[in-house]
């Protein structure tokens, strides 16, 4: 079984800075990590490989530094990786990113499953996984929480939806995005780390994959960022401390007043 896992390198979310002029993220000086939600996709792939054998390839689009994310994926248990990197890819929105990744995946040859994280923690769009599926013209299960079976060229999965779960069956090759519930990601092993250290990850640019220049980067992106701003948090911020019975009653009074005033009860 050949499994492809598209991953993204993202900044540690706790200290993100924006350039107010360009509306883009300041990446310098911010620690970069594998998108935490992609770890569940990698783990899912590793478990499928453990069960059925095969090969896992991590693929990413990003700057040269994203090689680190791919190496980390290898350290966790992916067999190989490829980085799609080209100055012309810069500024791609979700349409153009899905396009580049889908074409990178096509170049990898035959595959059975493409497994993505639910969304990246920086962009929060959750659009690239379904976008890749659409470009590849493949069936798709989003918000996948369990793989029920893989046999006879079909995969049966459970997906988390409003109010419960849905079970669907897809013919292979298929794509899916997974949620945290599907697995607990393992830590990189020592052997994996050694392998990651030595591995040569190929870097493919525009000329290596069959993409049209007018479809990538800012130029190929249908959306434009008009502006970026910081949300105003206008909270009254009243705070009271419970110390004894009297303040306890006072606190409950306050909550009651709040609920009544705002018509929650």
């Amino acid at each position: 079984m050949k499994i492809v896992v598209p991953i993204k390198q993202v900044p540690e979310t706790s200290n993100v800075k924006m350039n107010p002029e360009t509306g883009t993220m300041v990446r310098e000086g911010v620690e970069s990590i594998i998108n935490p939600l992609d770890l569940y996709a990698i783990e899912t792939a590793i478990r499928l490989k453990e069960q059925f054998g095969g090969k896992i390839i991590a693929i990413s689009m990003g700057p040269g530094s994203a090689l680190e994310a791919i190496k980390e994926a290898v350290a966790m248990g992916c067999d190989d990786g490829v980085l799609l990197s080209d100055g012309k890819f810069a500024g791609s929105d979700t349409w153009a990113t899905s396009y580049v990744l889908a074409n990178g995946i096509k170049k990898l040859g035959e595959y059975d499953i493409v497994i993505c994280g639910e969304r990246a923690t920086d962009g929060d769009t959750a659009q690239v996984g379904p976008g890749i599926a659409s470009f590849l013209d493949l069936p798709l299960s989003t918000f996948t929480s369990e793989i029920l079976s893989v046999k006879d060229g079909r995969i049966k999965v459970k997906r988390l939806v409003e109010g419960g779960y849905e079970e669907i069956e897809m013919t292979l090759p298929a794509t899916m995005t997974v949620v945290k519930e599907i697995s607990d990601p393992r830590l990189p092993t020592l052997r994996g780390k050694l392998k990651a250290k030595k591995i040569e990850i190929p870097v493919w640019g525009l000329q290596h994959i069959a993409v049209k220049e007018e479809n990538v980067g800012l130029k190929g992106s249908p959306t434009r960022v008009v502006k970026i701003f910081t949300p105003k948090v206008a909270r009254q911020g009243e705070k009271i401390a419970v110390r004894d019975e009297e303040t306890l009653n006072e606190a409950v009074d306050k909550i009651m007043d709040f609920l009544i005033k705002k018509e929650f009860i």
Partner: protein, 337 residues
């Protein structure tokens, strides 16, 4: 000027209320653009009263595709039908709810028709000079807001966060046009098959759909204590939320998890009990309209977000609060007899 379209959600023979929220969004845009407002409804055995409901709540037109193959959501068949409709009628704007359905279908469709899609918007407006749709959305865990437009391609597509707007109310005497479309079997050919839905009984009210969420964190203390959170949520008609700690400890199941690796929510009221407010949790709830925080630690981060903060033990406070709400409701009920 092309039409403004909103995608109604029809599940288990019922329109979901996000369909009406979208109509409210669509209405103000259609007014500004002086364009007709239409709803799309895809499903099976769609009732006339539901179609009329969309008209009463603001749709000038309703496009209906009623087919056995659309009884349950599969992205491949839904996408094919929606693409057919878009190619035939060429709307200017296409809005869907940022539900599991909308967030799956819309990117699949946007890729095929080569247009822009903006995810999980909380504010929509029209750019004065150009008439372009201005789509504002939180990103990076709600730390920033970005306004995005699709200047050169149509339709301009967006998914809209549930509960970021009130549902449009029905008006008596409104009339509208109903356009029924049929497609042949090749449209419904898919490489996937829907098997079944399994209801999660612990999600009486799901966190994505809830107006009120009562969420518990590590401060709840132990699994048994969570009953108090469940009880308060039930009394308020809300959903039960949980922090990552709570889910990792197995006190609550994953569908309840709020935050970076769980759900992002914007209810009208979020009560955070025993939640310290780690960045990852805050990312999932900071756009809530009202926030009440209860925590023993006076320095807990959650208090920075709270409209009302109570420094104290939730296990002491909530039982009294529950009694008081119960009494209040009883009094109100008898006063209204």
């Amino acid at each position: 000027m092309g039409e403004v379209w909103t995608l109604a959600e029809y599940r288990f023979g019922k329109l979901s209320s996000v369909s009406f929220e979208l109509l409210n969004r669509g209405k103000s845009l259609a007014q500004k653009l002086n364009a007709p407002l239409a709803s799309i409804i895809l499903g099976f055995a769609i009732k006339d009263e539901d179609i009329n409901e969309l008209i009463a709540r603001g749709a000038d037109k309703v496009y209906v595709v009623d087919d056995k193959n659309l009884e349950n959501f599969l992205v491949e068949s839904y996408a094919k039908v929606l693409i057919e409709l878009v190619n035939e009628y060429k709307p200017d704007i296409l809005l869907a709810a940022a539900t599991t359905t909308g967030r799956t279908l819309m990117p699949y469709v946007a890729v095929r028709i080569r247009t822009g899609l903006t995810a999980d918007c909380t504010v929509l407006d029209v750019e004065d000079e150009t008439g372009n749709l201005l789509q504002t959305r939180p990103a990076i865990g709600g730390n920033i807001l970005a306004t995005i437009k699709t200047p050169n391609t149509r339709p301009q597509m967006a998914t809209v966060r549930p509960h970021s707007m009130k549902p449009a109310l029905p008006e008596k005497g409104r009339s509208g046009e109903v356009i029924r479309k049929k497609y042949d079997d090749s449209t419904f050919k898919t490489k996937s098959k829907y098997l079944r839905f399994i209801k999660d009984e612990s999600q009486q009210v799901t966190v994505q759909d809830a107006k009120i969420i009562v969420a518990g964190g590590k401060g709840v203390g132990k699994a048994e204590n969570f009953a108090i959170i469940d009880k308060l949520a039930e009394l308020l008609g809300g959903a039960v939320g949980a922090s990552r700690d709570v889910v990792d400890r197995g006190w609550k199941s994953y569908p309840h998890q709020i935050g970076l690796s769980g759900k992002t929510v914007s209810p009208a009221l979020y009560i955070a009990a025993g939640i310290s407010g780690a960045v990852q949790h805050i990312a999932g709830m900071q756009t809530s309209e009202n926030i009440i925080a209860i925590n023993k630690d006076p320095d807990a981060q959650i208090f920075h977000l709270a409209d009302l903060g109570i420094v104290g033990d939730l296990n002491e406070i909530l039982p009294i609060l529950i009694d008081r709400i119960y009494d209040y409701k009883k009094r109100e009920a008898s006063a209204n007899v």
